[in-house]
Each structure stands twice: as C-alpha cells, then as structure tokens.
Amino acid sequence: MKLELGKIEITDIQFSNESRIKGSTLYVNKKEIENLILEDEHIKEVKIDIAKPGESTRITPVKDVVEPRVKVSGDGGIFPGVISKDETVGTGRTHVLKGAAVVTTGKIVGFQEGIIDMSGSGAKYTPFSQTYNLVLSCDKADDIKAHTYERAVRMAGLKTATYLGELARNIEPENIETYETLPLMKSKEEFKGLPSVAYVQMLQSQGLLHDTYVYGVDAKQIIPTLIYPTEIMDGAIISGNCVSACDKNTTYHHQNNCVVHDLYKRHGKDINFIGVIITNENVYLADKERASNWTAKLADFLGVDGVVVSQEGFGNPDTDLIMNCKKIEEKGIDTVIITDEYAGRDGASQSLADADEKANAVITGGNANELITLPPMDKIIGHIDYVNKIAGGFEGNMTEDGSITVELQAIIGATNELGFNKLTAREY
C-alpha cells in the first residue's frame, strides 16, 4: 500500500460565519457544528469552545482527541466502518490539518479523567497544549445509559473531525510525505539485505471506557491480525478508551502512531518495516494466552527478525506485554517493548505489575505517579470540580489560588506508551 499524506499547516482557529481554511487559519461556523452534533438525539446540548497554545486555559475532563483528516483519493474515507463506509483504506492521498485537533469532554461517569493545560507547568506533559483545539463539551439527554452516552460523544468527535477535514479537500498541501509498504514477499525481495521488523500494537479492549475499534469492530472480539501501517493513518483504529488519561491512546495518537512513523524513517535504510500486527488486552486470562500465542505465531510466520511492542493502559496489560515479549523472544525474535511506570510518588515501588528477565530492552514513558503542581488557569472548559475525582488528584488537592497538585496520570497523554513523548524515567 502506498499513501501520500499531505499536511496543511494550521496556526490559528477562529469562529466565523463560514467554515473554511484561509492561509493557515481554520475558520469554524459554530452553528453548523452544533447542528451536526445535535443530530444525535442522545446529546441534549453541546458547548463549543476554542483553546489555543499559550492561553491560560484548562480543558477537563477530556474524553478523546481527534485530528481532522480527509481522503482525497484512494479507496474509502476517513474512519472506515465508523464514519465512512467499510472500504479498505490506506492508499491514495489523505490531507491532514496539521496543528488542529478536536477535543471532546463530557461527564460520562462522575469520576472523569484527563486534563489538558494550554500553558504553565502542565503544558509540556501533553501534546495537545501545542495544538489549536476545537473543544466540544457534550451534555447527555436525560435517562440514557453510560454506554450510549460514551458512544454519542465518541461519534461527535469523529464527525466533527471529519467535517473539518473536509475543508482541506481541495487545498494543495505545503508538503507531502509518501509512505509505502510492499506486500510481504515483495518487501523481503526488495530489502533483501536488511533485518525485517514488525510493529506489534496492543489495543485496550476491556469494556466501558476501555475499548478500541478497528474498522468499527470492537477490539475485544478480534484475534491478532495484520494491518498495513497506512490504514492506521486513515483512521482505521479509533479510541473508545478514556482511562487512564496518561497512558490511553486518543484517536489522535492512533492517527499519528509514532512507532509507525519512526519505523518508516529507518525503512529501507537500517530495517525492512514489513507491517503491523494488532492484538488486544482482554480481561479473560485464557484470551491473554491465546492472543499472545497467536501474536508470537504471526511474528514467526512473517519471518521477522525483530519487533517493537507497544501497550496501552494500566495493570493487567502488563501481563499481556510480558507474555507477548516472552513468547516472541522464545521464537528467536528480538523485542523492544514500550511501557510506562507506576512506581509510587517517591519512585520507590515496583514499576510494573508483571516482569520477566527476557524483557531486556524496555523504553519507558515515565512514572505516572509523580506529582506535579498545576497553576490556576483563567479559563476552564469542561468541569473543574471533577479534578478531585480525576485519577491522581486527591482530596483537598486544590489550593485557594486555584492551583492543583495531581499525579502525572491525570494529564492527557503524559506517559503515553506508544512513545509519543520525550519523557522517560531514570534510576536515581
């Protein structure tokens, strides 16, 4: 598959009478977005806001972040099986509004999660302090269940990102990058002298607020399988995962999967990046055994020399991670795994819920229990009193001046396990 990704730089976002892109400014007709979202009768009311980098603004509780994209050529459309029809994506050309993001918030369950601070000490821990954000705060219709509300908010974010992406259809991108993955045998022939590498992506798949969808299919229901890296760039994988803020992958993270990008950078030079194996993280232990057996089998079947494995979430996924690592290493394939840590506030506790000496090559996204004090922000989009209930916050953690002390795990994307950030942890 070959995909051209055309970037249209966005350096400002403003409300206007007409939704369009002029220069590098994204103009948004608020009313149209409202109407679009309120098509779903499960949403009673939506407030739409803008948050820009450097502003004294806090967004919370964040559900998902989505990047506006549009397929201008090639089969299918963005978010296949969910927004667009169920066609195979990943080829042709896709435009990206680089620098823009749609952020959804909503009180799906009371203890909601996730802070994005657009400035101050917390800003450097989230990538979304650098993006021009259109924030949707969705209130649910009365008497609907949590599942229904979650789905409604999820769709609202995807629909809005699709709407905005559409504005870029006929704009000529400033730069176009091409990504190509050949079918397996051709790839091995073409890059004969290079070690072949696959990416094993573990997807969160446990239940309400803990789900991921592949072409709209609930990842709890899949068995490990293959996918082209470029399909992921077209939104084939989307997030229904809201917990925990620091180590869940937002849809934006999926669309911009950094492991995919960094493997492509070395493709054809040091390695032959042959493709992606996706697997899940089910609660049922027998599923974990089956999935890891299958993942190792696929890696072996593909004849790869090495894999990068990324995970998602806290606790039991550490078991899947170690199972995958062990079983793949036992096939004689080199692994590098990416995780984050819960080493306690002092950093003295055991970081992972599972371990094995075969996992000798580990990348960490940092200790999620580390404390951080966030200064008060002038503007809050969302619901601030939920901060106490946010993961990592604690009773009385907000001082009179409005600054709050929370664990890093409260910040969206802070310890992301795709390796999205430059944060790491070292032993002192």
């Binding site: 203890f111 239940g207 609660v283 806290f314 039991n316 078991t319 819920a353 993961a391 604690f394």
Partner: protein, 123 residues
C-alpha cells in the same frame, strides 16, 4: 465451563446471583483480592486478571473476579498473578479516596462492564 464469581459489587450481584455461583461480600477492593488468593491456595484457577480496567485500586471500591468452580492442584500461574496484583494494588491503597453515591454507581457500572463480556462469553 463452570465459573464462580467473586465480587463486592451489588450491581453484579443483582444481575447474576440467580444464574451463577456467586460469592458476594461487601468488603474492600483489597478484601476481594485476598479472598481470591485464598481460593487460589485452595486449588481454584483464576480466570480473569485481577487488575482489570485502568481505573486505579484507590479510586474504585469495586472488583469482580472469575475463578473456576472446581478446585484441583494449586495453579502456580494463578498464584503468581494474584500475588503480583495484590502487590501492585497495595501501592495505591494507602491513599484511598472517598466518593459520593452517584460516582460509586458509575464505578459499579464500569466494574460490571469489565466482567459482563467475559461472563457472556462463558454462558
């Protein structure tokens, strides 16, 4: 396969007590883990991972686990998993948080959701 449900979640109890073998007790999260450990020592096999979900042990008071109904010889894998889980949970449990009734209901729902797709699979 016959399963036994161990839970402190009234919502899980109300939905499954009629059709399933269920050990329901209004004890703490930690209590559920330790009760499960006792069952493992008696030879029951752990069927679900105790650290289900990314909601932390000091946030949600609810935990539901599935074990085998029958007991056989001690399953070392099960023992290792439950012990590691207790160790991981203990890191958080020193800083237990308290929540309102509304929010407790939400935690019950999440805990239910994490287990119901497994129970449905085993029907």
């Amino acid at each position: 396969m016959k399963v036994k449900i161990i839970t402190n979640n009234p919502l899980v109890y109300s939905l499954y007590s009629e059709d399933y073998d269920i050990d329901y007790q209004e004890i703490s999260y930690e209590g559920i883990l330790k009760k499960t450990r006792d069952y493992v020592h008696k030879g029951h096999e752990l069927l679900t991972h105790p650290l289900s979900g990314s909601v932390k042990p000091n946030e949600t008071p609810f935990k539901t686990l599935l074990i085998s109904s029958k007991s056989k010889d001690l399953n070392l894998e099960s023992l290792s998993i439950i012990e590691n889980s207790i160790e991981t949970a203990e890191k958080f449990l020193q800083r237990q948080k308290k929540y309102s009734d509304d929010i407790e209901k939400d935690f019950m729902e999440i805990d239910l959701s994490l287990i119901e797709n497994v129970i449905n699979k085993l029907l």
